[in-house]
Symmetry: C2
Subunit: 373 residues, 2 copies
Amino acid sequence: MTAQSDQTTANADRIIISVDAMGGDNGPSAVVAGIAKSADKNPQVGFILHGPEETLRPLVDKRDVLSGRVRYCDTPDVVSMEDKPSHVMRNGKGTSMWSALESVRNGEAQGAVSCGNTGALMALSVIRLRKLPGVNRPAIAILFPSTNPQNFNVMLDVGADIRADARDLLQYALMGASYARNGLNLKRPRIGLLNVGTEEHKGRSELKEAHGLIAQFTDQADFDFVGFVEGSDISGNKADVIVTDGFTGNVAIKTGEGTASLIGALLRQAFEYSILSRLASVLAISSLDRLKKRIDPRRVNGGVFLGLNGTVVKSHGSADATGVSAAVKLAFKLAQSGFAERLAARVASTVELTQDAVELADPVPEHQKEGQA
Amino acid sequence: MTAQSDQTTANADRIIISVDAMGGDNGPSAVVAGIAKSADKNPQVGFILHGPEETLRPLVDKRDVLSGRVRYCDTPDVVSMEDKPSHVMRNGKGTSMWSALESVRNGEAQGAVSCGNTGALMALSVIRLRKLPGVNRPAIAILFPSTNPQNFNVMLDVGADIRADARDLLQYALMGASYARNGLNLKRPRIGLLNVGTEEHKGRSELKEAHGLIAQFTDQADFDFVGFVEGSDISGNKADVIVTDGFTGNVAIKTGEGTASLIGALLRQAFEYSILSRLASVLAISSLDRLKKRIDPRRVNGGVFLGLNGTVVKSHGSADATGVSAAVKLAFKLAQSGFAERLAARVASTVELTQDAVELADPVPEHQKEGQA
C-alpha cells in the first residue's frame, strides 16, 4: 500500500502527517476541514489522506489551501467504533486506519493522526509499528489543564492498557518525562505517581513497588520524583507528569471532562437566571471566552501513543475541525522535534538500568542470574 | 465510656448525633461552630461531643444555641491524620474517634460524625460497629454534583478499600441503591458500573463478572441497571448510583474536586483581566454565587459508611462550620429515616440470593457444596 502521489514534489520539504480520514464521529468532512485549518496556519505541513478516494477528493478539492498538499491512499474499509481490536488486528488490512499507520511504518510520513476507535488504533500500532525495545506496555499520554506555569500536565496511561505493573509504571515515568521535555519544553519534569493518598504506606502493592523503582531513576533520566500524588493534583502544580495505569487514568480524564462540562452548563444556567445576570453575561463574554479557550479540550486534542517505533496521535472521536487541527499540530511538533528518536534513545539507555533496578527491588535467585549472565 | 449527662432530659425527644470533635484540620472550634449551626437550624438535634472536655466546654459555652443540647464524653487522646489504621485499632481506645463510635454502638446516639483520619475511622467502625451480615467490604458513599433532576449522584466506594471483587461490587450496588432511595428519595434508582467504556467486552474481568451479577438483581432489589458507565457519567444523568472500587472512586472524586477548583481559579483570573471584565464580575456576583452554592463541596459534605451496624458520616478533614453542619444534617436525616435498619433489612433479604447468583456465575464444585450444606 503505497500512497499515490498527486504532486509529490511540492511536498518535498514538508513534514508529512499521515491522516486516517475515516472512523471519527463527524466523518471525513470534519477531518478534511481540520487538515485545511492546519495547512492554512502552517506552510510546512503536508498530508497523506487515507480513506475512499472518491469520498475524500471532492472534500479536498473544495479547499484551495489543500491544493498540492494532499496525497491519497485509497482504502475501501473503515474501522468502526464498535469493532473489537482483536477483530481489526485480523481483518483490518484494507482499512484507512491500517493504511495510515503503514505510511509511518514505511517512512513516507513522520507521524499519524486518527479520530477512530482507540483500542483498534493501539492494537494496530503495536503490530505494525512494533514496541520500542524494553517497553512492555505502550501508553497513551494526554495534556490535562493545570495551574502549572506551562498550563498543562502530562498524564499517562489514559487507556492503552487497563493493567500496569510496577515496571510498566516506571516505563511510563521515563516516557512521560521525555514527552514533557519535548512537548512542553520542561528541562527537568516533576513526576508524580497517582495514588489514593500521599503517604508511602498507602495504595496497592504495585504502586509501592513502582515508588521505589522510579525514585532510583531521577538522576539517570533527568527528572524529579515528587512521590505519590492524588486525583486533585492532576490539575495542580505539584507534578508535571502524572503516572498511572490506563484504567485509572481513563476514568480520571473522563471525570475531569464531565466535571468541566457540568460547570459549564451550570454557569450558563446561572447567567440566564435574571435580567441582571443576563446583562452581566454579555459583559462577561470575553472573560468567559478566555476561560473556555484555556480549558477547551479541542485545543489540546490528542493522545500520544508512547513506546512505539513512530508517532501516533489519537484525536478525540468527536473532534471537529479545531480538534483535528490540534491533533495534527501536535503530530507535526513532535515530528519536527525528532521526538520519536529521542524517546527511543532515552528508553534504550535505561533498559539495562531498569533491569538492574527491578532485580534490586525484587531479587532473582542466584542460579537464575548465572543462567542469564 | 458512657457519656456524662449535662441536661439529659432536654435531649429526650431529640435525635442524638455523636460527634468526634478532634482530628479535623481546623480543630475543635470549627466542629463546635458547625454543630452550633446545625442546632440553630434544627431544634430536633442533640449532641454527644467527644474530646478533652476542658478544651470543648469553653467553646460550647460561648454559643447559647448549644445550651442544654450537648453532652460531653471526656477523652484525652486524638487520632492524627498520620496515624496508621492498624496502630489506631490496637491503641485507639482513649481517643475521641473510638469514643464517638462507642456512643452509636451502645445506642446512646443514632449516628456518628468525624472529620478525622478516614482510614482509621473505617477501621475502628468495622471493629466496633461490625459489618452487616453478608457484607464483605463496607464502602464509603458520597454525593457528586450532577445534571440529574436531584442534582446529585451517589458514588461508592470512594476509599474504604482499594480493592473490590465482583461480589463486593454487587453489594455496593445494593447498598448504593438503598442510600439513593433513603438519601435522595429515588424510588427506583438507576445503577451504573464504572468502566473505561460502555461496551460489554471492555474492562477488567471482575467488572465483567459484576455486570452479570448486578443485572440479576434489578427486580429483587428494585433498581434499574444501566450497565457500564464512564468517568464523564459521574456528573451526568445516565445513572443515579455509580458503583466502583475504592481506588478508582477516590481518584475520581479528587479529580472532580481538582477540576472544579482549577476552573474556579481560572474564572477569577478571567474576570480580573480588564476593567470591563471586572465590571462584569460585579454584575455576575449573584450568578456566580448561585453556581458556587450548587457545587460547593461543603454543602454536600459527608461520606457515609455503608455496610455497618450503625450510621457513620465522615466529614472532609478540612471542613469548616458549614461543612461540619452539612455532615451533621446528613447523619440526622439518615437517622430520622431509619436508614441503618432499612439497609440492614435490604442486605439481609439479598444475602441468600447473592450467594445463589455468585454460584450461578462461578459454580462451586459439587463436593464443596455438600460440605457447606
